[in-house]
Structures are given as structure tokens and as C-alpha cells.
Symmetry: C2
Subunit: 454 residues, 2 copies
């Protein structure tokens, strides 16, 4: 009897991987907030206030990009570099960083640590995880380096060398990590570059590659034929492609003659601007068109795209492309009267479909609750603006119709929490809140009861 | 080979129960629309136009209550009686009516017809279904009769006898069938009776009893102790109770000092008005407060309640109380780390949970697509108004922030289709669209592929 009690106590004090993940992220945010709260972080020489620091640090670590003060205008270079580092840490995931540290100091990685990493990276197997982590770091720095170089070529035409280098690195990291922070100033994001081909293509590539997930990148780097790629890669590529093209076509048609967005641009500008609209809801958060001037239909369409977000094990947020893909395939299979959900000559397991359904429903519940709270605390604002802001935070997108800095204190805290939940994954939070899985064997199991639904 | 071909052809021409259900409802709507399109249906002596007739007939048969022309002001007594009959037919379900006809003319009911009824009533067993149908009709007419009598006692104080009788019957049927049509005139719904106890209590009871579902009513009519009731009844009663009390408390707090709604009412009026707000989203569609004057938070809260709606096998719409209950219980069981979802000492089967998830996701997809279409066709209107209208149509609720009559032609057709889908059930539509369930035995089954979601 006493033994059992002790075991329970020990189990209660031992954190599960999901809890460690949540606490780790929270610690980094807190550390970042303390740094950003220092007077030397702000150009005014006065602290920005702790709620604003928490908000900014959360937004950076959760690679969201929502800002209460403009990153380019308000923060000193110290502040901007803190933000850059928070983005990089958040983007790679603190577990990968921990692996790097362990790797550098030669410490052996225990099975327990590997399990934690598995949770963080949402990977299939423990074996090869350390190798994968090295690949992740190497690949990330290579890609970000290339991106920074090309962006530097553009920025050096406008700014002096040190600033152009910082701008190149900052925007490359911010794009690859799908963070959406920018240093352009005055909340303009990338609107000055709406019809600049170089900036557009580099940012597109960084966003899309960063949002595909490391597993897909690794798979693609083997340069196999499409048919030899894994099912996961095929799904990610197809769905990402469909989402981008749909977003592009939708924006092009709906905004074509909107004088505040595409209307006054050349055809080149219209095409580049629409393409950016199709890509940025893959939770990047940059924008080249003024978001608040979009038509209502475009705003709602972007809400849907933001809710979907990027792909698993990437720096992107949202419920993920594959979740939506699996759900749509599953509904198609019901309509076709098939027992199995099939794609690319493979069958998708029932528990994957159930997990996808759970993720979608929990996501929608979360968005509904947050929108509800904000529609009380921000009663003076427009519903669509609030709804957009909520989904943007949940999907860690960072696009806004302009209300972020005008949020009430409670509003800022709720949005911070939503960014956090969106980043570490609602399911992880649910598991973190939960106790250890109970072993039902030997316990009395209730008889099944009949319930009608729907 | 030829034999197989022929079999397939026969199977293709044979309608499945779901298809018969959909076609049956559609036929009744068409018949209703033809009658309402007649000049004698309208007080102006001129036809209301076919799209408006289709809209009104769909709204009546689908017991929604959204109206493009005010029921009390525009239609003649002929038109109002057509609407009353469409509501009664829709509410009871045309399959129950068909059973009545079969019962009256003494025709034996085939197994095939019983299966169709099963689909319509969403029942567990075929046996006893004919008996149940008789009970349904008997119980419905008794309850509606009692309701009509009490409402008559109120209306006779204001109108002459024939009108008071029609008003009593019409509003009793409309409330029990959760139809939400009213004859009060000038689009006021029941606002003149916001602080009238008799009208409030009678309408509450009719709405709640009608929205619980026939199985629950039957179960309750045996007058057992709560613990002896079926799991389904317990769930319906608990969740309905929670939803009503939550809606009541929310309205009372949020609208307490809103001068356009509860603000200028006495405490009695405030309590009655809030209670009505808690009950009417159980897809009734009546209102005693001006909906467009509610605070933003109240509007969004009602959207959520409308989406949930009433209980299965009732006259109510929405994704249903039990669906939401099962989902919440399932999420709680995940948090608690339990394998089984349990409630009232019973375990809920995995496939019920999956079905609930599918219903919720398909419902949200449908609402998202319709809102998307309307935000293009109704670009001049407010997003919250459009979203509210869409969910109201999907949940066959009938509440509106005032845009129904101002909808564009496409908007009216899309809302009609949404009411239809909401009534016959999105899943039924999906199955109706689908082919016969394929037998996978003997076919090649694809190997399972790995996909990460979320
Ligand atoms: K972002
Ligand atoms: K209704």
C-alpha cells in the first residue's frame, strides 16, 4: 500500500516529455522577455513594459510575427538581435538546440532525451534522430545563408553594409522560420517590394521550404523520382501546391480591380502580389499588400488558409496541411463508399484519420473560445478583425488587420497564450495537462452505452 | 461478365434510403413553393416570385424560420396555412407522414420502407418503429394541442377568435417543430412578449421538448428515476440543461446594461429575456430581443449555440447536443489519460466518437464554404451578419441580424441549400451523393502508408 503511494508520488513529480517541452519553451520566452524589457533594447531608452515584452518574446519564440510595437522602428540593434535569436531558437525548436549543445560538449544523449526530442520533432523513429538533428542544423544554416546572401544583394542597394547584412540575415531567418518579423519599419512589412522579383522569389522559397518540414526536405535532398518519395512527402507537396495555387488564383481574381491592393499594379505586380498572398498564409506572416485593405472575401479566405497553416515538423503553425489532406481524403472515401482512405496507392490508417479529426476539432474549439473572449475584451473592434487576429495567432502566422497594438491588456495576454498553444501544438498541451496514461488492464471497464450523434 | 454489368446497372438505378430521403424532402419543398408562388398566397395579389417561394418553402419544410418576406404581413391566410402545413410536415418528417398514410390506408410496411424510416428517424432498431411512429404522431398532436390552447388564452386578449385560434395553433406548431415562423408581423417575432410569463413559459417548453428528440420524450414518458433513464436521455438532458443555463447566464451578464436589449427592462423582463436567449438557439428561431442590437460577444455566442443546435431525432438542427457532448467527453478522457471515454458509468464506443468528429468537421467545412461564397456575393454586408446568417441556416435556427430579405439572388439560393443540408443532415447528403458501399473483400487492399498530422 505504502509502496504504491510512493510510486504515485514519484510519477506525479516526474514530468512527461510534453510537459518538459512546454516548460522549456516557456523558459526561453521568459528569458527573452527579460532581455527585451531592458531599457537598452528600446530606442526610446525606456522599457517597453513587461506585457509588451512577453508578447514580443512569445511572438518571436513561437515564430508568429504579431507585434505590438514595430520591430524596425522601436527596437535597438540589441533588441533586434535578441528577437533574431529568439526566432532562430523557436524555429529550430529548443530541443534541437539542446541537441546541438549536447553534441558540441560531447555529452551522450539518453533514451529519455531522445524521446523528448521525438515529441518535439514529431518524428516516427527514435533511431537516427541525432543524425537527423545534425542534418537539420546544417541544412537550416545553409539555406538561411543562401537566402541572406541574395537578400543582401538587394538591401545593399538601399542601405550601408552593416545594416544590409543585418537585414539580409534577419529577413532570411525570419522567412525560413516562418516568423514574419521584419525590420522595414513603420509596420510596412514587405509592401515596398510588392513587385520586386528577387525579394519575392527568395522570400517565397524560404517560406515554402521552411514550411514543408525537415522530413520532407531530407526526403527531397535524396533527389529521387516523385513516385519514389515517401507518402508523407507526396502529400505535403501536393497539398502545399494546391493551397498556394488556390490562394494565388483567389487573390488574383478577387483583388484584381481593388484600387487599394492589386488594382493599380502592373500585370507583373498583380501576379507577384497574388502569389505572395497564396504563400504567406503558410504561416509566414510577411505581407506585400496592405492586409486591412483587402476585400472581405480575401480576408476570410486567408483566415481559412492560416488555420490550415504549414506542414508537420516544420517551423510553420496551423493544424497542418496533412491534417486537412487526410480529412478531405477521408470524406472523399466516405462519398465513394470505400472502407479505406487511399492516396498514392497507399492506405491511411484509421488512427491517423482520428488524430486529424481531433486536431481539427480542438483547433476550432480553441479559436472559438479565444474569439469569444476577445469579442468581450475588444468590444469596440470589428468582429472580422478579431477573428483574423485570433486565427493568425493560433496558426502562428503573424498577419493582422491592424489591431495588435490596440489590443487591451487581457487581449494581449490571450493572444500571447494562443501563439504559444499554436506553436507547441494544442495536442501537446492537452497531453501536458494530462496525467500519465492509465493502464486499464485489470480495472473494471464500463459496458458500452448507446448514444446517437449528428 | 454481362450478368455483372446488368447487376451494376440495376444497383445504379436503385436509390438508397438516403437518396429517397433527400428526394422526398425536395419534392415537398417544390410542391410548397408552387403553392406559395400562386397570387392567392400573397396579400398584394401578385406572386412573390419563384426564388422567394423556394426560399420560404425550404425554410418552412426545413423548419428554419429565415424569411425573405414577413410571414404575418405578406402572406394571406391561405399562404400562412400552406406554411403551417409545410412546417408540420417538415417537423414530423415526411417519412413519419408516409407511415401515417400507410397506417390509415392499412398498407403493410415493407422491410425496405422500415429501413428508410430508420434513416429518417436515426433510430437504433427496426423493430417497434411502426409503434414508435404512432407514438410520435400522437404525442406531437397532444403537446401541440396543449401549447396552442395556452397561447390562445393570451392571443384572445388581443385578437378576435378566428385569428386567435390560428395564432395559437401556428405558434404552437412553429415552436414545437422548432420552426421559428411567426405571424406577429413586421418582423418583430415575439419581441412584444419579452416580459410575458405565459407566452415565455409555453414557448420555452414547446421548444425544449420539441428539440429533445422523440426517443428522449418516449423515455421520459415512462416516468423512471433519472438513474434508470437511457444513457442517451441522460446525455441529452444534461447537455441541453448546461447549454440553456450557459446561454441564460451569458446573456444576462453581457446584455444586462445594453440599453437596446435588456437595459431598460425590469428584473423580471431581464430574467425572461435572458432565458429566451438561452433557449432559442436550440434552433427555435423565435426571438424576444432585437437580435441586431445585441453586443458582438452575444452574437458570436449565439453563433456557437446555433451551430450546436438541438438533439438527434428531433425537429431541431445543428450538429446536435450529443455530438458536442461526446466530443467534449472524449477530449476530457484524453486529458485524463484514459483509454475509454466514459459518462454515467457507461463507455462510449470509438465509432460513435469518430462519427461525432466527422459530423463536427463536415459541419464546419460546410459553414466555411457557404460563408466564403456569401462574403463574395454579399460583399456590401457586414461579415458577422453573413456568418450569423450562414450558421443560422445550417442549424435551421432562423435567427437573423436582419440581412435575409436583402440577400442577393445567389445568396438566397445558397442559404436555401444550406437550410436543406442542415435539415436532412450533412452526413445523409454525403451518403446520398455516394455510391453503394463497396465490398472490399477479395479486392486488393493497399499497404498502409505513414502520414504525420497536426
Ligand atoms: K509566422
Ligand atoms: K428554426
Amino acid at each position: 500500500m505504502i509502496t504504491i503511494e510512493q510510486n504515485n508520488t514519484i510519477n506525479n513529480y516526474r514530468l512527461n516529455p510534453a510537459q518538459i517541452l512546454v516548460l522549456g519553451f516557456a523558459s526561453i520566452i521568459l528569458l527573452g522577455a527579460i532581455l527585451l524589457n531592458l531599457p537598452i533594447a528600446s530606442k526610446t531608452g525606456e522599457s517597453v513594459g513587461f506585457v509588451n515584452s512577453i508578447f514580443t518574446a512569445t511572438s518571436a519564440v513561437c515564430v508568429t510575427g504579431l507585434v505590438v510595437v514595430d520591430t524596425g522602428t522601436y527596437w535597438t540593434m540589441f533588441g533586434q538581435i535578441v528577437i533574431l535569436m529568439l526566432i532562430q531558437i523557436g524555429g529550430l525548436g529548443f530541443m534541437t538546440m539542446a541537441t546541438l549543445v549536447a553534441f558540441v560538449i560531447g555529452k551522450r544523449i539518453s533514451l529519455r532525451e531522445r524521446l523528448i526530442m521525438q515529441e518535439a520533432l514529431n518524428q516516427f523513429n527514435i533511431s537516427g534522430l541525432v543524425r537527423l538533428t545534425k542534418h537539420i542544423l546544417f541544412t537550416t544554416f545553409i539555406i538561411e545563408g543562401i537566402g541572406a546572401f541574395f537578400l543582401y544583394l538587394k538591401f545593399i542597394q538601399e542601405y550601408e553594409a552593416p545594416k544590409a547584412i543585418l537585414f539580409g540575415i534577419f529577413h532570411s531567418v525570419s522567412a525560413f522560420c516562418n516568423a514574419g518579423f521584419d525590420l522595414i519599419g513603420e509596420g510596412r512589412s514587405l509592401t515596398p517590394y510588392v513587385d520586386d522579383i528577387l525579394v519575392n522569389v527568395i522570400i517565397w522559397l524560404l517560406i515554402v521550404i521552411g514550411g514543408m518540414g525537415f522530413t520532407v526536405i531530407m526526403d527531397l535532398l535524396t533527389f529521387k523520382k516523385f513516385s519514389r518519395l515517401t507518402l508523407h512527402t507526396k502529400l505535403v507537396l501536393s497539398i502545399t501546391g494546391i493551397l498556394i495555387l488556390t490562394g494565388f488564383a483567389f487573390s488574383f481574381i478577387v483583388e484584381f480591380n481593388n484600387p487599394d491592393t492589386l488594382g493599380n499594379l502592373s500585370i507583373k505586380g498583380k501576379l507577384l502580389g497574388s502569389m505572395f498572398q497564396g504563400i504567406t498564409p503558410r504561416t509566414a506572416g510577411f505581407n506585400t499588400l496592405p492586409m486591412d485593405k483587402l476585400r472581405m472575401a480575401s480576408k476570410f479566405f486567408i483566415i481559412i488558409l492560416m488555420f490550415i497553416g504549414g506542414s508537420p515538423s516544420s517551423t510553420a503553425g496551423g493544424i497542418k496541411t496533412t491534417t486537412v489532406g487526410v480529412l478531405i481524403l477521408s470524406i472523399i472515401s466516405i462519398i465513394r463508399g470505400k472502407n479505406d482512405t487511399e492516396v498514392f496507392n497507399r492506405r491511411i490508417a484509421k488512427d491517423v484519420i482520428n488524430r486529424a479529426l481531433a486536431i481539427a476539432v480542438i483547433g476550432m474549439l480553441w479559436v472559438a473560445v479565444v474569439t469569444m473572449i476577445l469579442s468581450i475584451t475588444e468590444a469596440n473592434k470589428d468582429f472580422l478583425d478579431i477573428f483574423f487576429e485570433t486565427v493568425s495567432a493560433f496558426g502562428t502566422v503573424g498577419l493582422s488587420l491592424g489591431i495588435t497594438s490596440k489590443l487591451s491588456l487581457i487581449g494581449k495576454l490571450v493572444i500571447s497564450l494562443t501563439m504559444f498553444a499554436g506553436r507547441v501544438g494544442t495536442l501537446t498541451i492537452v497531453f501536458a495537462l494530462g496525467r500519465k496514461q492509465q493502464n486499464n488492464k485489470g480495472l473494471i471497464r464500463y459496458p458500452e452505452g448507446k448514444v446517437m450523434v449528428g
